[in-house]
Amino acid sequence: MRNYSRQLNKDLYFDPYLFISITLLSLMGLVFLFSASQGNYDATIKQFVFVIFGLLLMFLLSQPDPDFYKNNSLIFLVSSIILIIATFIFGNEINGAKRWLNFGFFSLQSSEMVKITLPVFLAAYLYDKPLPISFKNTLICIILILILTNFVRIQPDLGTSLVILIAGLYILFLAGLSWRFIGVSIGIFLLSLPFIWNNFLEPFQRQRILTLFDPTNDPYGSGWNITQSKIAIGSGGILGKGYQEGSQAHLDFLPETETDFIFSVIAEEFGFFGVCVVLLMFFFIMFRCLYLALNARDRFCRLTIGGLSLIFISTVFINLAMVIGIIPVVGMPLPFISKGGSSLLSFYISFGIIISMATHKKLMQR
């Protein structure tokens, strides 16, 4: 037994802290989803299959050496871009948006893959560039980021495109983007806000932002979601209304209970206590990633772990900010808990890569 264990440690790459916390979070997610989907067994079982598959995928992806990801990062990026282009051509149109590629048993949201391949590619591109990063390299990276962001934005998928944008910017920032460049960029961004407002945002997106500032202005229109979500959360109280007892969730007042607003269901049924448990799990994963990033074996691993974990954290926080009404409704799932194939899998993949980066030590370091 002891031999076997040593054998496992020697040949398999595995971070028990992340693995256990993610598994636990996924299983809790199944429990929440069952209630949020009004006790829909089919949806829950389907999600369960995704969880098992995702955990397996995570485990498998943590086995290759980081060099495998570094050397093939361009191939991964190009493949994901091809998937996006394929989506434009063959994609299923749902509610006026072409985001999904249908593989029969599974619809792939191609933009979810870019969320991983872009930061990995940028990390691989920048890991050997001297500090501070030259203006030329910065420009190449930024152009790449903007092209991919725009690809996804015109699908249209504002939420994911924003994640891709910040994913790229995280890597650039962590890789040592000069502070002067950052300062100038922020200045330009602020100045161009009116231009972006007028030219890049759809009317419904503008309405969402306006609603944020005054949700009571239009409680049955675009403010409905935020209002109902706040009512759901607030009426949960300390210990919640009990599992499957949330009136907001079960009487259809809360929109998108299985995806974007599943946190409101948790808050309504399990109260502040449930919220704290879920947030602590996320907090734990977040700081485990920080530890791993700070102790990674080389610059590529550092950048990748840092970038991917920040995407994860950002997604969590964008979702939370949305359901408690701090930012507009953008359509962002709660990782490992919301129903969904592609985005769920993308986080298992991310953490597979993170674990790979964290567990493979260089020979000389051993």
């Binding site: 001297p130 500090l131 959360i233 007042f253 808050a267 502040f272 907090f283 926080f317």
Partner: protein
């Protein structure tokens, strides 16, 4: 070395930047936690209420309205329960499709369809319910209930409609019910601790409000208290299950003093002529008969009347909606004479032996103006008793001439003139008891002595309603003791109104009654024709209200070609003498003769009340 140094530098740089972002997120994390804390713990009760409001809907249950009885416990007004198919139009986007779908379940005739479309918009804008079909059969109810899920805003509920057992007899006395307007509704609901805004189904059909008559005056007692069903609803407003049921409290039944038989006699005797009859129980001041004619069906008004039918009633020149008994103003004419006589006796202007010479007219000494009596040549030498029996105008012109107008007015108001004499009549008119101040204010003329002289025979500006005349008759019958009139049982034993007199003693009252008996029984009496219509003694005073002043009979013959210019017939009577039980007043517009036209009506009503 520099490579290692550079790597160290790079790692430090990376760590600082990553920590920088993490610190930012740690702050965000704390912020979210505090925000959730404030939602779930600080503002918990607000959101708990909001969630509760979201998921519950209150539906009010109509209480049964109180039943109205007559004095012999016969039901006058009842409630008819019916199961109705009701829709909430404000929630319906397409009425055509809705009606089409409903017709696959419950058939509707063309009248019901027309009613639906004609009223849809109005009811929707007021957020009121709309009844699609009344009186559903059990089969129809069953057919609908199994398909109920298809019609989230349509439902079947029990509704009471108000039904007069005698739709025309009590239209003015009891009145009718109708739908309250928003202000009235808000008041009703706030009386019952219900809030209009929170009561999403504020259905008008479930709310009945007494609009006129007893239904209006005693509305609060009759109304009852709403019950409530609290349903759980989903976001689409679909009723899911009943959470709470509070039974409605039925309204209080009301026993009135009205008498069906006497009411029917009065109604039949008036026979759709314009007029009114009021009869009063002398012991209690209760109103036993209250008829205004012509009238209308209270049931039709309460339960929906086609607009053409309603317009026809409204435009009818006989004004069936006008409550002549309580609001019609008529000159009391000669019926005032007993009151004037009492004034003369009280102020020692005359006594029973006092006589005047009646040449058929009275000349006002101030300007020589002539005031004529009804009998050419006059009544000769006449005393008070005969002046009442024969209705001598000259006697009373002369008596009024000697009266102080202010004292006379004070005296007349004891008898109910110029004031409200009824506790529970619906907007009773006070008639007009004119005085010099009134005349200068309203007509911009000073008071002439001739105005006082006219009051002596109940003409001129003086006017009274039939209810006031009934009060007056009762006051005379009771020798100056009376309760205010009321439709329901008076619980007060003490007489509320007492005539305070210095010089009038019981003998005077006795003699007055005798002279009023003489009006019928004496061969010279103005109402002697009534003598054979009864087998007991009645005291009465008839009157003829001149609408147009004429000097000769020939002139009047020209006038009476136009029906509307003919004199009104009027009589007040009480009996049986010597211990009267009931008093009655009758007005028949353009009936010409008080004694022979209004008189028989009064006698028959008294007969009915006395079961003779």
């Amino acid at each position: 070395m520099s490579d290692i140094e550079e790597r160290r530098l790079e790692k430090k740089n990376f760590s600082n930047r990553l920590l920088f972002i993490y610190i930012f997120f740690a702050f965000l994390f704390t912020y979210f936690l505090s925000k959730t804390y404030s939602l779930q713990i600080s503002s918990f009760s607000d959101y708990e209420i909001a969630a509760l409001k979201n998921k519950t809907r209150e539906v009010l249950i109509q209480p049964r309205r109180g039943i109205i009885y007559d004095r012999n416990n016969n039901i006058l007004v009842n409630n008819i329960p019916s199961y109705n198919l009701i829709v909430s139009p404000s929630q319906i986007l397409n009425p055509d499709i809705l009606l089409k779908n409903i017709q696959q379940v419950i058939s509707l005739n063309s009248e019901e369809q027309t009613y639906f479309f004609e009223n849809f918009e109005a009811k929707a804008s007021l957020n009121r319910e709309l009844t699609i079909k009344k009186n559903l059969s059990p089969e129809e109810i069953a057919r609908f209930e199994v398909r109920r899920h298809k019609f989230p805003n349509v439902f079947i509920d029990e509704r009471f409609s108000r039904q007069h057992i005698y739709p025309h007899l009590f239209s003015h006395a009891i009145g009718f019910v109708g739908n309250p307007n928003d202000d009235e509704l808000e008041e009703i609901l706030s009386n019952q601790d219900q809030k209009l805004r929170e009561t999403r189904f504020n259905y008008s059909n479930a709310f009945l409000l007494g609009k006129t008559g007893i239904e209006s005056i005693y509305d609060k007692e009759l109304r009852g208290t709403f019950g409530k069903k609290v349903y759980e609803v989903d976001a689409k407003g679909k009723l899911l299950k009943e959470l709470k049921f509070i039974a409605p409290l039925p309204g209080r039944d009301l026993k009135t003093a009205l008498d069906i038989d006497a009411q029917k006699v009065a109604y039949d005797e008036l026979d759709s002529r314009r007029g009114a009859v009021v009869a009063v129980d002398l012991d209690t001041g209760e109103i036993n008969t209250y008829v205004s004619s012509p009238t209308f069906s209270a049931n039709k008004i309460s339960n929906g009347l086609s607009s053409s039918e309603f317009d026809r009633l409204l435009e009818d020149e006989n004004k069936p909606f006008f409550d002549r008994a309580g609001q019609g103003r008529y000159s009391p004419a000669s019926t005032i004479k007993p009151a004037i006589a009492l004034f003369g006796l009280e102020n020692n202007i005359i006594d029973w032996d006092y006589t005047i010479d009646d040449p058929g007219f009275f000349v006002l000494p101030e300007d020589g103006r002539v005031y004529r009596g009804w009998k050419k040549g006059g009544h000769g030498n006449i005393n008070l008793n005969d002046a009442i029996i024969e209705s001598s105008n000259t006697f009373f012109f002369s008596l009024a001439y000697q009266s102080d107008i202010d004292e006379l007015i004070k005296h007349l108001s004891y008898f109910g003139f110029g004031r409200n004499v009824c506790k529970d009549c619906f907007f009773p008119d006070n008639g007009l008891l004119p005085n010099p101040q009134w005349k200068i204010n309203n007509l911009n003329f000073g008071w002439f002595k001739g105005d006082t002289v006219n009051i002596g025979v109940g003409q001129g500006y003086l006017s009274a309603t039939p209810i006031q005349l009934a009060y007056y008759a009762s006051f005379l019958a009771n020798k100056g003791n009376l309760n205010n009139l009321s439709f329901v049982k008076n619980n007060i034993d003490l007489k509320e109104e007492t005539f305070k007199a210095k010089n009038i003693i019981d003998t005077d009252w006795q003699k007055l009654h005798d002279s009023m008996i003489g009006v019928i029984e004496n061969p010279k009496g103005t109402a002697k024709r009534l003598r054979n219509l009864k087998n007991y003694i009645i005291a009465a005073k008839s009157g003829t209200v001149e609408l147009v002043s004429t000097d000769t009979k020939e002139d009047y013959k020209i006038i009476r070609e136009v029906e509307g210019k003919r004199d009104h017939a009027i009589i007040v009577a009480f009996g049986p003498m010597p211990n009267p039980k009931y008093a009655v007043s009758v007005i028949i517009e353009n009936g010409e003769s008080g004694g022979s036209v209004a008189g028989p009506v009064a006698i028959k009503v008294l007969n009915s009340l006395l079961k003779k």
